[in-house]
């Protein structure tokens, strides 16, 4: 299958093919084409991570209480937004889990938006990347629930409100919990993939106004999908760490 490659992927494949194959063999995998072990989504993921880390590094050095700069304003805005949502959804303990929410939000937002730059590809257009984010959210909310409630009390959540119905509720609850990372994955992947395909389809028809309108819609959907991913993660964490008063 021919995949179109971003210029960055071509650079990686030209110079870093050896380390790429070495990394794959660490996990006992071999590339389907050993001369080109780097895929678009892998290279773009690393680029997004490095860009976010570099931005936060620059931000940290410029933090100031008296004269905040523009970058600090932007990140304060994001932090306040996520903290308010976390307080609303999770309640008292929202602040304990703010790290995962901010990480997921900033990474997914940056990953979605980097596709808008002409020669870059969003890593979230690949179902592997979105599955990674969804599995992270899934593991996190289960571990948070286990840590807070202990094994037995967390399993009791799966039995539903009436103990007599437990044999019926347990498979239903397990299936619905397993459907959560699946739906997170498919929602983010399909939104990003479809947005780009629609823009490309209209670009094939005409290069006047219409593709730009669809690209604008794609950028709006990118922002919205990042927010929805984090919102749903908050709701799942809230369900897992809920106390029954």
């Amino acid at each position: 299958m021919v995949t179109r490659e971003a210029w960055l992927t071509k650079l990686f494949n030209a110079y870093l093919a050896g380390p790429g194959n070495a990394l794959l063999s660490l996990f006992h995998q071999t590339a389907s084409n050993p001369k080109e072990p780097w895929a678009d989504f892998m290279v773009m993921q690393i680029l997004v991570a490095l860009l976010v880390i570099a931005t936060l590094f620059v931000l940290r050095r410029k933090l100031s209480v008296d004269r905040p700069g523009k970058l600090q304003h932007i990140f304060e805005l994001i932090h306040e937004f996520i903290t308010d949502q976390a307080d609303e959804q999770v309640g008292h303990e929202g602040k304990h889990h703010i790290v995962i929410f901010m990480t997921l939000f900033i990474f997914i937002l940056a990953a979605n938006l980097i596709g808008a730059i002409p020669t870059f590809v969003s890593p979230t257009q690949s179902h592997y990347v979105t599955a990674g984010c969804a599995l992270l959210a899934f593991l996190y909310y289960n571990l948070a629930g286990l840590k807070k409630n202990g094994l037995w009390r967390y399993t009791k959540h799966f039995f539903g409100p009436i103990p007599a119905l437990a044999p019926l509720m347990l498979p239903i609850e397990i299936i619905s919990h397993l459907a959560r990372p699946l739906s997170l994955t498919v929602r983010l992947f399909a939104n990003m993939y479809a947005g780009e395909k629609v823009t490309m389809a209209f670009l094939g028809l005409t290069y006047l106004v219409v593709p730009a309108a669809f690209m604008g819609l794609h950028v709006f959907v990118a922002l919205l999908q990042a927010y929805i991913f984090v919102l749903l993660t908050m709701i799942y964490v809230a369900g897992a760490v809920a106390d029954e008063h």
Binding site: S183, V186, R187, A190, N191, Y193, A194, L224, I228, L231
Partner: protein
């Protein structure tokens, strides 16, 4: 009105009869045409249409709620956006299945 409806529906169903003739000749000549393309298109169209109906109800309810109680605008808008995103993801599951079948 009922007689007109009965006549129209039976005319519609009878007009589908030529389909049986077309089926066998196409299969015999080219060794089996693939219905994957048209089937994906029709499936996606049905999914999008039904999701659009659901979204219409959601937006109508939200607009009416915001008109009746402007103080609750923020809460209604939040519920609206959340509902729209969840409904849209159902249409996108169909899209994902189509991609799975076509690769």
């Amino acid at each position: 009105m009922k007689k007109k409806l009965a006549f129209l529906s039976s005319a519609l169903m009878l007009s589908a009869l030529p389909m049986f003739a077309a089926d066998t000749t196409a299969a015999a000549s080219s060794g089996g045409t693939s219905w994957l393309g048209p089937a994906s298109a029709v499936g996606m169209a049905i999914a999008s249409g039904l999701c659009a109906l659901g979204m219409g109800k959601a937006v109508a309810g939200a607009a009416e709620g915001m008109a009746r109680n402007p103080g609750a605008t923020a809460a209604v808008r939040f519920a609206l956006i959340l509902g729209l995103v969840l409904i849209e993801s159902l249409a996108l599951y169909t899209f994902a299945v189509i991609i799975m079948f076509n690769h």
